[in-house]
Symmetry: D2
Subunit: 406 residues, 4 copies
Amino acid sequence: MKRTKMSPEEQAKLIEDARVFLEERVMPLEARFGAEGFAGIEADLESLRGELRERGLWAPQMPKTLGGMELSFLDHARLSRELGKSPLGHYVFGCPAPDAGNMELLLEFGSEAQQKEFLEPLARGDVRSCFSMTEPDRAGSNPAWMETTARLEDGEWVINGRKWFTTSADGAGFAIVMAVTDPDASTYARASMILVSTDAPGFIHDRLIPVMGHTGSGWASHSEIVYDNCRVPEANLLGPRGGGFLLAQSRLGPGRIHHAMRWCGIAERAFDLMCKRAVEREVAPGRPLGTRQAVQHFIAECRAKIDAAILYVEHAARSIDERGASASRTEIACVKFFVADVLSEVLDRAIQVHGALGVTDDTPLAAFYRHERAAHIYDGADEVHKTAVARWILREYGLELNAQSK
Amino acid sequence: MKRTKMSPEEQAKLIEDARVFLEERVMPLEARFGAEGFAGIEADLESLRGELRERGLWAPQMPKTLGGMELSFLDHARLSRELGKSPLGHYVFGCPAPDAGNMELLLEFGSEAQQKEFLEPLARGDVRSCFSMTEPDRAGSNPAWMETTARLEDGEWVINGRKWFTTSADGAGFAIVMAVTDPDASTYARASMILVSTDAPGFIHDRLIPVMGHTGSGWASHSEIVYDNCRVPEANLLGPRGGGFLLAQSRLGPGRIHHAMRWCGIAERAFDLMCKRAVEREVAPGRPLGTRQAVQHFIAECRAKIDAAILYVEHAARSIDERGASASRTEIACVKFFVADVLSEVLDRAIQVHGALGVTDDTPLAAFYRHERAAHIYDGADEVHKTAVARWILREYGLELNAQSK
Amino acid sequence: MKRTKMSPEEQAKLIEDARVFLEERVMPLEARFGAEGFAGIEADLESLRGELRERGLWAPQMPKTLGGMELSFLDHARLSRELGKSPLGHYVFGCPAPDAGNMELLLEFGSEAQQKEFLEPLARGDVRSCFSMTEPDRAGSNPAWMETTARLEDGEWVINGRKWFTTSADGAGFAIVMAVTDPDASTYARASMILVSTDAPGFIHDRLIPVMGHTGSGWASHSEIVYDNCRVPEANLLGPRGGGFLLAQSRLGPGRIHHAMRWCGIAERAFDLMCKRAVEREVAPGRPLGTRQAVQHFIAECRAKIDAAILYVEHAARSIDERGASASRTEIACVKFFVADVLSEVLDRAIQVHGALGVTDDTPLAAFYRHERAAHIYDGADEVHKTAVARWILREYGLELNAQSK
Amino acid sequence: MKRTKMSPEEQAKLIEDARVFLEERVMPLEARFGAEGFAGIEADLESLRGELRERGLWAPQMPKTLGGMELSFLDHARLSRELGKSPLGHYVFGCPAPDAGNMELLLEFGSEAQQKEFLEPLARGDVRSCFSMTEPDRAGSNPAWMETTARLEDGEWVINGRKWFTTSADGAGFAIVMAVTDPDASTYARASMILVSTDAPGFIHDRLIPVMGHTGSGWASHSEIVYDNCRVPEANLLGPRGGGFLLAQSRLGPGRIHHAMRWCGIAERAFDLMCKRAVEREVAPGRPLGTRQAVQHFIAECRAKIDAAILYVEHAARSIDERGASASRTEIACVKFFVADVLSEVLDRAIQVHGALGVTDDTPLAAFYRHERAAHIYDGADEVHKTAVARWILREYGLELNAQSK
């Protein structure tokens, strides 16, 4: 698929449309999202999604044939930054994790039948999906080391294992599961990806994992899943047999940039709230917080870091557009940990400027603070990315380090 | 009251008793505390409190005549570090905020009648209390600027105003309220403290403030309180009329050290969890996380910072014992922001070493992370303390800065 | 002057030419520069300068009519990053501070006669110049507060005062001096800029200021200058009378980006040295430093920060090209402190990876470390820029802060 | 040797005597030390040393029988902090590195004859000494890996090799050299220490290593030494044959605390200069730097960190007094990197508050900044200590890591 870059005017209009819709229609739901969870506002969200789908503001990264906007990576990055300002932004515009990554996998590796059965309803927003890779007893940073197995039996995959932190499994229509299909193959060729309908026999939703104080619900939740002789048709193998690790790399690579785009949006929202607070809150009559140099320096330092983060994300997005994700892996990995750091710092300082209000749920800051601590962890811990970056760089200097070298 | 310092042996025994009780009896309740809130385990806690009260492991900072242990500040610091390892530690040992600070106020400034009516049941643990100072529209860092008023009318104080972030008000027996009684007095002589029974007419519990995702309950909650022509007897004035600011200083000063003591305990707990995780979690077969230098350096840096924090807290505690809180104000303020920084860093790194598990509620780390973000805010934002410290230091160099100078 | 942006191919060739020249001809002089100072290698440098002037690799920011390359700001930024890899790079390519800024001032504000007398020989490299603004007893961050005066007398300016940190005054042909000409004017209209030949009567080179252990010499030195009834023709007034402050702003704005460009070059050099060291230095037989995760993370973090710094500098340069320096002031100020931080961190870590070798003068790192500590100070301390940035941002939120507000 | 702890009064008097002597007699020499080097003021220093020796303010860590003060580690720590305020402090009081460490080695391991020949004149200050361990091609962090050899031949050690960074070799009377005497022994039993007079045949002072811009001279210099069939009597073996590694550990352990003590003194000096500057330097008429919140926060943060550093050093010193250096190794290693960080931060901020003056040699800050960058490197890079600390801690959690594990 050849994605055309938007003209600056088209892009500006898109961003503005998104901004208006978010501020007028989506952000007003945030307080209820916090109080009632996803389940409490699901109906409202579906109605907004329908509206956006009709306006063509839908699934920005999907091809037009699937109802999407077919944006380039860079254009998507810019839109995504806008959407990220609300925790609901990506969901209502049809590009939330983990659906977005799953759509990309299905688009690139799905058979025609798979695309018809799984991708089309997903791209339309008729079902939700989840991605079942991490296991409770195996470090997520080592995807070559996995206990869940799938064996072929009578034309079906029989899957056994326990998966952890399967985001959005609650209420999802299907999961993409990673399982060892070829235990005797070489390290990176053991696992495969398999499409599993959540009503397949043996798919057991074991529990919602309480995260940062909440079990959540629906799209905004994380589950532990047991596969107990779970059976699905042989044709549900996604991509080549033994290709699980490769598909995971392919899914996670750009996925990290998707997150970083979103984080920039969160950081902008927090920055905006911080500035408003600095202007409105008086520490003495006629003396707003913004007169304090400590607050001023928070603002300046955050502005500089957010700018740098945005430029870095766009640079990586442009690189993916022009050179592909694989050639951009150093940039992608660097962006991942660099922007996660910026996000954490900006959120922390925005909360500080809000004082006690900052830790209440009367602003979205506290929820961002809780949920985005995981930015340093999901899709590969920062430390793992740093080690990988160094390995790639030092290779150019003639030092070959294997993946397990410390 | 002359407090005797314990011998090293007495102290070691006390710490050990506390450690065992916490590990065996209190920590097992933590998971339910997270899931059910304070209300869900209140009965269990009361039973533990009764047991400790009988064993004389109760109210370490209170005089023996009130059933306490009469510990010196330094001995209390050491015990408090142990208690801090559980979020329930101080509560079950009879010295939780805000009760602890309120007891100290009543002990120092309460009339005989006030001590009988308010202090004795509080010290026994028969009632809980709250402290009502911060207001929603006034910066907490400027306690001289306040809207709540109290006027004398027919031998009663008539209180009007709105107080915010009144911790533990839900279910409390009484509040200590700060209100302007003398609007025409000089800045720091306008307000007074008044004891208000929560069943006084006009005491309105307006709402539980949702904090970091939860409204909480009972002792573990924060409320917004409205005083709507709330009437209490004239004799409920605590300390001298116009002395509210002074009493607040007196209450908050050592209170900051109480918090810092507790933070050291939290940091030790997090450190212990981090080390255990480093040993147990394998990133590859036979290769635990602790073999990674990044994890090793987290551990070493945290150890050094926790040690320094503990030494600093004990230094300030010793200074309070020997020179009084007022002469120790620079140390107290420095300890406040220094230890808050250490706590945040240690929690952050302990979570990182736990990976996704660190953001779940399967360990206490996520709850500590959420709730102790406020360590940088309550009892005076870090920035306010830093400015005060500089003012005191620069005064010795001949530069007089008034409190509002930036 | 309309500056044409280079094609990517032209630019790549220019960078490559510069790289080769620097590595083959300039870097070999660095060790002698360290040991003998500027005076010791001045003749060699002049010969290199002549060669580059002939090849047209000269004065990248000057118009072609003056022998320069007429590069856009962005193209200059990219070249400058290459030149910055050697402390001698900008000097040999005809664009060192303070000459570069002085040329820009003369180009924009100089009369025809002034350009003939001062700019042309400067642009050719026949003379060097200096800029005399900061005073020993006045904070450099407050250029409206200055003691040096100039009064008109018999068609001559008579200048009196003492200037500090006048970089490159030793051996310079002329100075641009900032002095109060109109003491009764409004704050920002008191001072003017005046061109002063260093052999004018009353121009007294008082001392070379020892900086970081060295007094230096020639271009690589800083002087204290006394103006003792120093007399120059009335026509030496540069720009409008009372326009000194405005000219200073105009000179310093883009000047900060010039520095930041150069810092990126230094950071790249340090990064390269760090990586080489990580590959070459063994901590045990067959185990180079690069196998250590701590070193790997230094490398990854530095790579990310340098990338972000480069993108930010280029973004600001592009903004200056497209919108002018004044409209880009927030970006310029942010870039200044952001890149200074990156530079300090990269240098620090590169030294650390070198161990004891890093603090010796056997690599250029120690000299960079010493001299670029000032990056946080010259052209406005970081704190001053942060305060300014916050002021501009908060103005958009409706808060007007005057320059002196803290 | 049983060292008696001083009474608080004795200690206060000692500190005060040292303070006065330093301020009145030693600090006035600092400017000349900077401009002329050690050689330029050596005569003045010798005269001061003689005076202090006569007053009994000499060699605080040496036994009284050798003319020292026989201070406990803790008392020495407190004195050392005072001495550290001047870069000349330890030298004039008879306890500079590397002499101090060498005296301790000779005191503990020297034979009677060795003590007579080497220790007595060293303790009296009649000669200086150096310590020759690090090699140019071998990582200092791996002292088990060394190329210099010593073989016994005709009752003499014949030493061959090249040593790097031999501090104070210029003008020293003797060196303690570490060389491989038993190449076939187990890793940590190969090397021995040998006393080598600098006029021994084959002791070649190859060059002064330029460090941070200076080659230095005498005590204040670092040399590269070649041992070219250098011959010394067999009796010059210090301690047991093969005991070199053990002696080095024994020398470096407490040596790290000696450095940390001194760093606290430097930090106090920088803090004092920063505060004075904050009071004296006006940024506008009547508005000293200390009115700026950014400066205030620098001051407060530095105060807290210096306090914590001092407490930590004293804690480790007390631990050495009470439990010995070996049992205190975790504390010693933590103190090393913790205090080095504090020192770097305090120096950096003190310079920043001084603006351009801070990078000149008009204050001692720039020299401290240059020379103490090595605090993170000498006596073991910070990273090496962090790894060691983690290893010791994780061992208590049941994880055994060998020294080379990363």
